[in-house]
Symmetry: C2
Subunit: 320 residues, 2 copies
């Protein structure tokens, strides 16, 4: 791997111009990069419009599995970001369905047990699968050992776990029954490994990876991570968009997901990675990390090629 | 460590007599050993009465933190187990309070944030601490970013996390605020590391260790495990009861908690460990484990000295 040891801080016009020269395609994380909760980050709309005017291509790659591509379309539109189509959006609810179809070859019309939000259910249905569990209101009840969902449905072929604020003991106990079933052999897909995310009011909030990790721990078995930094996910996105790897830049706010995702794509002529500081990574944490990346698990693979304070600054820097 | 490589299966009278000869004191796990959910395991009452008649001493050591010692007293009584006093009972809600008092020296009248059931709150109050969070009904609400409990109370001095079926996103998000607060320096006590436990109707259900693990993962920091197999917990129990280590037998159903707990006490002249098969460990799993203990993390320390099908069989075997 040929990761730069010191990321270049993008703060002068010539830096921004060099990026424009080097990359045609931009993969954007969303939470902490494009928006924080329901608010677009200042300047981001102008930066995206500038890049588009300069012929750059986009894809939005989020580890959040709560919303379907259709719901993300509505969010982009409500935030005033124009020209995004469903084909530009890659949430991990969609990645989970891709994994069921392509890698695991689970037959269509199979039932899939879901611990997660409607995004997963919607993407499963669109692909011809039958979601069970998930947002089913019967799972909102207090735990009862004789609850119908504690008996496994023998038609279920796989389990998908992702972000949700609706988890409770009833949902977790019923999901566990599937993960233990058949000597723990039914496929277990996790939509992400994110520990936390920047929420509203400056809060750091628990993310979907914590739910996946809970299920992994209680069932004592591994899962297939379909989210960033999965290489399978990156390959699928590059292929679907026809992006040349060596002319693609991953932009994100998290070292162990986004930046590793971009860097791990460096098979010879690889992607670049640009860290923004508007989300989960503070300048202090970045400084501490860069002092000794080898203290971190797979630390070398998490060193960004570039750093910018905010994606929203890009347009100001290049026009300065 | 001098753990026997092959546990002795207790199934003949002379085995049981040798145990009676070798041990004066018995530490019993509860779930899966004494009872399953609300039902006492067949023969256990007779075995306990037999041991008592023969001058043996008991302590009950459970990683479950949901009930206080007072509540356990009521449970023993309702199941018809006589002669148990509060001093015989060591649930991890009590161990957590001991850790606050002795090891961490947190001053009395401090506020302690709780993610867990009333057992923790009751033991904290009995010791003169002020529990906050916990079963507070305001935390039953759906998540709201402006919820009062998302702002840390500056008087809180430590966090205790244990078993609960009442966890929801509101509770977890507010607990995270304390774990991240002050650069993650406020003490974080976990009541156990149990992945699952044998519930009613033959169900395997998520246990408190999964909640602790969730909080550890989302906050990305370690915790102090006060439950089995903590050596500090064992020393405290032996000291409080005046039990001679070399004449004490730990009886439990789980290798990585109970059996390791007994075995790790083998500092020269150590405790023995007796595995029962009425709880979380199946005969198949035990067989697989014993084939190659080194495949398991700290596997050598989880090999029981003895195995018996059920604690309830003991009295039948010795009277056969």
């Amino acid at each position: 791997m040929t990761v730069k040891k010191n990321p270049l801080l993008i703060h002068r016009r010539e830096h921004a111009e060099a990026l424009l020269e080097k990359y045609d395609n931009f993969l954007f994380d969303c939470d902490g990069v494009i928006w924080l909760d329901e608010k677009i980050i200042e300047g981001v709309k102008d930066t995206l419009e500038f890049l588009k005017k300069n012929g750059k291509k986009f894809a939005f790659v989020t580890n959040n599995s709560s919303k379907s591509r259709q719901e993300y379309l509505a969010k982009f539109s409500s935030l005033g970001i124009q020209g995004v189509t469903k084909d530009h959006i890659f949430p991990t609810c969609y990645a989970a369905v891709q994994a069921l179809e392509s890698d695991l070859q689970v037959p269509k019309k199979s039932k899939i047990w879901v611990l997660g939000d409607s995004g997963i259910e919607d993407e499963l249905e669109e692909a011809g699968y039958i979601p069970v569990g998930g947002t089913d209101a019967r799972l909102n009840q207090a735990f009862r050992a004789d609850h119908e969902f504690l008996t496994v449905d023998p038609e279920v072929q796989a389990v998908v776990v992702g972000s949700t604020k609706e988890f409770n003991y009833m949902r977790i106990a019923s999901t566990l029954q599937y993960l233990l079933w058949k000597n723990k052999t039914i496929p277990f897909i996790g939509c992400n490994i994110d520990r936390s995310y920047p929420g509203p009011n400056g809060l750091i909030l628990p993310a979907g990876g914590s739910v996946v990790n809970y299920m992994q721990y209680t069932a004592d078995r591994d899962f297939i991570n379909v989210g960033k930094p999965s290489k399978v996910f990156l390959e699928a996105i590059l292929a679907k968009n026809g992006f040349d790897r060596s002319r693609t830049l991953m932009v994100g706010d998290t070292l162990y997901t986004d930046i590793k995702f971009g860097n791990d794509g460096q098979l010879g002529e690889g992607c670049g990675s640009l860290l923004v500081l508007t989300g989960g990574t503070t300048p202090e944490y970045l400084h501490q990390f860069l002092q000794n990346p080898n203290h971190y698990d797979e630390g070398e693979s998490m060193i960004p090629s570039y750093v910018i304070r905010s994606l929203g600054d890009f347009v100001d820097i290049i026009q300065s």
